[in-house]
Amino acid sequence: MRLSGAWRGLLRPGDWGVVALGIVLCVHAGFWLWRGGAPDGAIVRAGGRVFAEADLSRPRRIEAPGPLGLTVIEIEPGRARVASDPGPRQYCVRQGWLTRAGAVAICAPNEVTLMLTGRGGEYDSLSY
């Protein structure tokens, strides 16, 4: 262990801090840049046209009109859902919160869709 002791003598106290800071910076950058599929925005389409675009940074409600009535979209930081829809089977409402880039909720009878956008998504489109 004499060799490792000799090497340790080359590091001054602050050097350890700089090494630790560098590692923290890398891990932080990794988390920040590589969180795959995190959504950054939502697009609401009604009748095939873009009705509203929203970023997912603050809560918001969007009411999109369709042939059957109003579809209510609820947006929260990092996620979005169809809160209510006049359609008969409620598939898009029962999908719940969408949290990944590329996720889509389609309220076909009322012709409203909600889609999350974001880079690095694993899917072009995702629906259940």
């Binding site: 050097d15 890398c26 880079r119």
Partner: protein
């Protein structure tokens, strides 16, 4: 017609810069022979020389050695004025700026290892920025930042340790020489 002769007489500093630059060029050329898994990730062994010169002779000489090394090794490797040259130059300039600040840190606490890692981060920062602005007009380059950062910590640490070991060895040699002169 009078013949005019311009004679450049190198002083001790010039000779030192030439010496150290030669060592740095050698390391760069040797390193170019090592296959690397990812473009842009290199140990940067030549920076060991820059760090030693910084510690012993100051920032000005370190800047000379670093920039002459970038120029001369790019000529040797056929990279002069190619993208790789500008990336090296940007990295070297950013590192030198960082070293100008890092050299002012209290020496009791921060040694060559700190200088090395800080300069390595400045190096990749400048290179990624230049690559994004000029070579890859897409945010995709930033995906590699964590890898480059990890390389900066690892190679910064290794180069810094090598520089610190060399400096210790040089001090030991000088002490021995001084003792021999006195005795």
């Amino acid at each position: 017609m009078t013949r005019s002769v311009i004679e450049l007489i190198p002083d001790a500093e010039d000779r030192r810069v030439a010496h150290h630059t030669a060592a740095a060029i050698l390391l760069t050329v040797a390193e170019a022979a090592i296959p690397l898994p990812l473009p842009g990730v290199k140990p940067g062994l030549a920076n060991i020389v820059t760090l030693v010169v910084l510690a012993r002779w100051g920032w000005r000489e370190a800047a000379w050695v670093s920039l002459l090394r970038v120029l001369a090794s790019s000529l040797l490797l056929g990279q002069f004025l190619a993208p790789g040259f500008f990336l090296s130059l940007a990295g070297a300039l950013a590192s030198l700026l960082m070293l100008a600040g890092a050299a002012r840190l209290p020496g009791k606490w921060f040694g060559p290892v700190s200088h090395s890692i800080l300069a390595a981060f400045a190096h990749i920062g400048a290179q990624v920025l230049l690559a994004r602005l000029w070579l890859v007009p897409h945010d995709g380059v930033f995906y590699l930042v964590p890898l480059f950062g990890a390389a900066a910590v690892l190679f910064g640490l290794v180069n810094g340790l090598a520089a610190a070991a060399l400096l210790r060895e040089l001090r030991r040699l000088e002490a021995a020489e001084g003792a021999a002169d006195r005795g």
